[in-house]
Amino acid sequence: MSDTTQVEPAETRDTAYEPQVLALICERSVPIAELVDAESRLRDASNVFVLRFPCSGMIKPALAQLALEEGWDGVLVVGCAVGDCHFREGNLFARERFRGDRAPNKFRRMDQRRVALLWRAIPEGDRFLETVREFNAQLVELGPNVRNDDGKAARRR
């Protein structure tokens, strides 16, 4: 898990596999309403479902963990620029919780490579989509989220 994902773009890769990504997004960061379609998927990347929150401080690691267990291949957590939370501390707390520095956190049971934190402001829709593409590429590299017999994702580490 990192604040921004950095992956070289892949030229040749198995295009049959499309990772399913759940994006948990603060409504005051990137302009979600402009970016999603009627199904609440990103227009530019239909494999990304968007769930909207009033503040990234409402997103707890347990949610991301559950999403991975529910079979999502990756989870994106998006908040405003660090230092500029509308509610003063929300994105700082989100970052601390996901790093394991603040309660409640269950992040040690998550596959960190499948969770990315992103800090993007309102006018940065394009930069956001760029990072989504990089994250997708990283997930393609990782391959599908392994599931157990009961359909749940294996817990790693």
């Binding site: 499309e18 759940l22 997004i25 199904e39 909207r52 401080g57 707890k60 949610l63 501390e89």
Partner: protein
Amino acid sequence: MSLQPIDSVARDDLYEPRSPYRRFLRQITIAQVRLERWLNELVSYEQNPFYFHGAIPTFVFWMLVLSGLGLLFYYKPTVNESYESLQYLGIVPFGGAIRSSHRYTADIMLIAVYLHILRVYITDRHRDYRIVPWLTGVGLLSLVYIAGISGYLLCGDERAWGLTYQIRAALRSVPLLGTGLDTFFLGGREISDFTVVRFLFFHIAAASLIFWMLWMHLLRIRRPFLVVTMGIGAAVIGLTLMVSGLWPALSFAPVANPLDPPAGYALGDWVFLPGFILLSLPAIGPTLFWGVTLVFFGLLLAVPYLLRDTRKNIAQVVRDKCVGCQLCAIDCPYAAIQMVPVWNERKNKPDLLAVVYPPRCSECGVCVGSCDFDAIELGSMPYARLEEMVRDLAPRRDAAAAEAAGD
């Protein structure tokens, strides 16, 4: 019905603002965020002065208190000696530097406070549950003005007594109370040494009240950002020293007669005294002066009431689930949650229960993120547990994936 995008809570019109004023606020917010992001690229988010909008005035205020204490050692509050005692600072080692920096940090503080007001206004951080910080902020602004203007009065030079003349004229023009205000202002019917002592009292009282008002300002703000970074602090100190070196703060000529009208003002006086500089123009009388001042502060007080949100997402505690762990009360950025003891019959001892004070709640959901027991929710959360939302999405995702594979 398709949910788009899937909301964890139903919200007011953040994306399609209905009223023109709301749309205007949204537009200037975006412009400001763009500016701040650009600055982030230059100085990194950790050093971005915009993110220290409240800490910078606080820091500058501490600088003022320190340099003011330095001046207090030499200042003599009498009509005849105040001027001389400040001139004497020119001989004392660093005396001139301390005087200049006291003068210019005051200017910097006022400018920093205005930038702070502009930022909280532009980024829509000025209304509803922030009403206490805003209203006490207007109090702080008036105290900063009182401290600044009375600081000018202490110098005992032409400018100080000219300003006294103007203030007296303005006070006397107040109906009914006029003479009383004048006497209160002078500490007697005539200008005497008591007058200068009174000016010193105004100056120090206003500065002390700033501490008290600042405490109220931050009452509802958890963990306020009060400390600037080394970089920003060095920049502020550097700026002060640079301006002090280039244009040392000096007195005007000694006054011939304390009852004379102002002889003129310097360029730098526009920061604190624009009202009085304009008032010295023949065309502007005390009525206009008072009118503009009252309208300005009236508008400041009215601004937060121009726009109000419907409150549908105030946090609610589920009493049976709350275990009293206090995490939400610690995390709430606006101090909206109190832990109260509740008698537990079974254990025969009190338990703690989280209680939300609705007017303080910003509907941010940070407490939902803090609670590991799903014991706190926002008003319009579609599910008691956010987890259920994520669970519900999985079939939708699989259907979409199957469809994509079928194509």
